[in-house]
Symmetry: C2
Subunit: 442 residues, 2 copies
């Protein structure tokens, strides 16, 4: 007997990324009420399901929506403002002067642009940290993307907060505002161990514990961070984070480049999720995440783009390709960082960074968060191994459709939830304001 | 007084990549008889030129067509067949068994797919080496792309040639067949010093000298090649190539990873063009081209994708981004491999690898080889520095239009010279044949 569903999506190939890494050729998904009701051979599903809408993906590769596990979406408004500079002069001369004047509306527009880029390139969930994060969440709500977001907690005044206490108050308000929301969640976001005092980190821990929120922090990004931590706190970053109790909470740690074997073992034991940001680490010459040592310790590893100022894309396909290649050359081993390993980082393991185990895989009963890539693009032909194509061949612009919770958010050049051409118009004024603040004549 | 031209193309921004690296905001190009007749502010050109066709690129970034300075276009048919393997087992177990059975028609179809991918992603010229190269040139002729091509000369029988003498005969025939062609040229292509004998390299040199053809060779790709050269010839690869006279001819050397300072100085003195293939070098863990030492020696450096079996894209935008990031992390210096330096490698310096100084820049009187990228894509917004966007932000799929010699070859999803959907149909049989030969059931 036929059952009813909202949408039936067929596909040349479905990479489920479930626990068995099941792949369906000539498959289909039945989607109803935001969830996957059925999944398997297209022929079988057509016989079982009566759909309100059928989307023909017979020339498409369907995979779970990718998880961008560490980003600063609003930094799209700084994309390409300054590149190829030493880290400190880049930050102090170019980025900080602009960020010091950022207003909430600029953050909202920049975030919406960032989410547009992510949906356009197959990302359905992200972990975000910035200032004026209330506007980031508003933008995520507009775009429809899943977002784990938190106000950056700094030891010095930000454009949004005169003190860290206000950042924590904002976090508390945001947690109340979005409590129980299916797509939006709030984290406590101490920026790093070198931009906060121990008191602040302890206050972050207390708030996270009280409200049952996860923690998201930049951790051990570079040897320079380690030197600062030793100077300020007398210990290395991971030990400092541990001493302040941050690792006893659900914790997503971004970068994790400069770490010892003992620190990796500690992070693994504490079930911290480390987020690899290969583009940013390469562009800023921060160092290379010790992948082999982390894999040996079974540390959970997700993948992120970092912000557009240091990437300059928010494209998880770009990030997957670079991750796979970086570790091959770094380890002098072409078998390192296989396509399957990297795709796991961008999907199943990204779910851990979101602290939401439902994500990053396509399973019956799970949320219908997915993306569909056009296999007729020249770079996707011919198709032997779909996992290889997702990591090595795709650019992300083969994406024809991206949905979250069964809702199509991007399809064939159009964003369904907001007026993209109007956003581009609004961004013109933001660009002018950024240039004024940067003191650059254009 | 108004002059007449074939086509007027406006642009939000034109990166000319001329000697002064002139950039025009709100610019235009007047194109007639395949050449750029005029170039400058759109307002001025509109007042001066009466065009048969006007293309509105007011939301586009126009730059010279990119030069893919080392590739094996036909290897698209092996894209993703095998990845993440050690080099020797990858070659002997996966690539060679398939290549041993390749027929000319398969090479033609694979090459046409490769050229489609290149045109789709803004490449207008390439240096190609493979077997059955007559078919590669036929495919280039069909697609309209510029190509410097040559039959691979090996010391063992290839699927195309029982002996190296036949490869040289084919080279001679091809040189005669395409003599004087504007877009297609022939090179003498010894595969490498470790797959040929000194006699063969001397015969290659003699033929190149006789016919005034350039040489294209894989050179110093990895420490393994160096070890083989020392074992076979008693000298390192560069010295062996020099001793066989190859460096006294116009020479394009691919990879050039494992070289000493003395070898770099020699290559620079001989005006050899080295081609950097960062994706392939990373994916196969071949090593890292010594960029800083080469720049210090003023060695001419172009950029290439290598074949799709070891990349797996033929996308020069992907390649530019990876080149820029690889050398920053390798040199621990975020100022290394600037966007401007990398864009030069993909344009102006690519012209040197093609041995055609007209290419890789947009100048009055020069060929109208260019590509136009959509700046309204989320990842291209906002725009502060167009060179940064070309290298760091673009994926290559923002390309809306690619032309060679004033002729539009790709525009908005359509290839003008051939039936792309029919090509995809023909490739189905090629895919099946490849799988049969690889002994892989799919």
């Amino acid at each position: 007997m036929m059952q009813c569903c909202d949408l039936l999506l067929t596909a040349a190939c479905i990479l489920t990324q479930d626990a068995e890494h099941t792949i369906w050729q000539n498959g289909a998904l039945a989607i109803t009420a935001g969830r996957i009701a059925d999944l398997g051979p297209a022929e079988d599903l057509r016989a079982r399901w009566q759909a309100k809408t059928v989307v023909d993906g017979s020339s498409m590769l369907v995979l779970p929506g990718l998880v961008n596990a560490h980003t600063h979406a609003a930094m799209t408004i700084l994309r390409g403002l300054a590149d190829d500079m030493p880290l400190i002069s880049w930050l102090t001369q170019r980025i900080f002067p602009v960020e010091a004047g950022l207003n909430p509306e600029e953050v909202r527009l920049g975030s919406l642009l960032g989410f547009a880029e992510m949906l356009r390139t197959g990302t359905t969930a992200c972990v975000d940290m910035y200032i004026h994060e209330a506007q980031v969440l508003e933008a995520a709500h507009t775009a429809g993307i899943r977002c784990l977001a938190g106000e950056g907690v700094f030891g010095f005044p930000s454009a949004a907060c005169p003190s860290y206490r206000q950042a924590l108050d904002i976090t508390r308000d945001l947690a109340a505002r979005w409590a129980g929301h299916d797509r939006l969640r709030v984290a406590v976001n101490p920026h790093s161990v070198y931009t906060t005092s121990p008191d602040m980190l302890l206050a972050c821990r207390d708030l996270a514990e009280e409200l049952h929120l996860p923690v998201h922090i930049h951790l051990a990004e570079s040897p320079d961070e380690t030197a600062r931590s030793l100077e300020q706190h007398g210990v290395r970053p991971v030990e400092h984070a541990r001493a302040c109790g941050l690792l006893d909470l659900p914790c997503t740690a971004a970068h994790v480049v400069d770490v010892t074997d003992e620190e990796i073992a500690l992070l693994a034991r504490k079930r911290v999720v480390a987020v690899h940001n290969p583009s940013s680490n390469m562009k800023l010459a921060s160092g290379i995440l010790p992948l082999a040592r982390m894999q040996a310790a079974a540390l959970s590893l997700a993948l992120g783009t970092d912000g557009a100022a240091s990437n300059n894309q928010l494209n998880m396909f770009t990030e997957m390709g670079r991750a796979a290649l970086l570790h091959k050359i770094a380890q002098n081993d072409p078998t390192a960082a296989s396509a399957a390993c990297v795709l796991d980082m961008a999907t199943r393991h990204g779910a851990a960074a979101m602290h939401d185990a439902r994500l990053g895989q396509l399973t019956v009963g799970g949320p219908a968060d997915l993306t569909a890539l056009d296999l007729t693009a020249p770079n996707m032909q011919p198709l032997y191994h779909p996992v290889s194509h997702a990591v090595y061949a795709a650019t992300g612009h083969e994406v024809r459709l991206t949905m979250v919770a069964g809702e199509i958010l991007y399809q064939d050049g159009r964003f369904t939830r907001f007026d993209y051409p109007a956003l581009l118009q609004e961004l013109r004024a933001v660009r002018s304001a950024v240039l004024r603040r940067a003191g650059t004549a254009h």
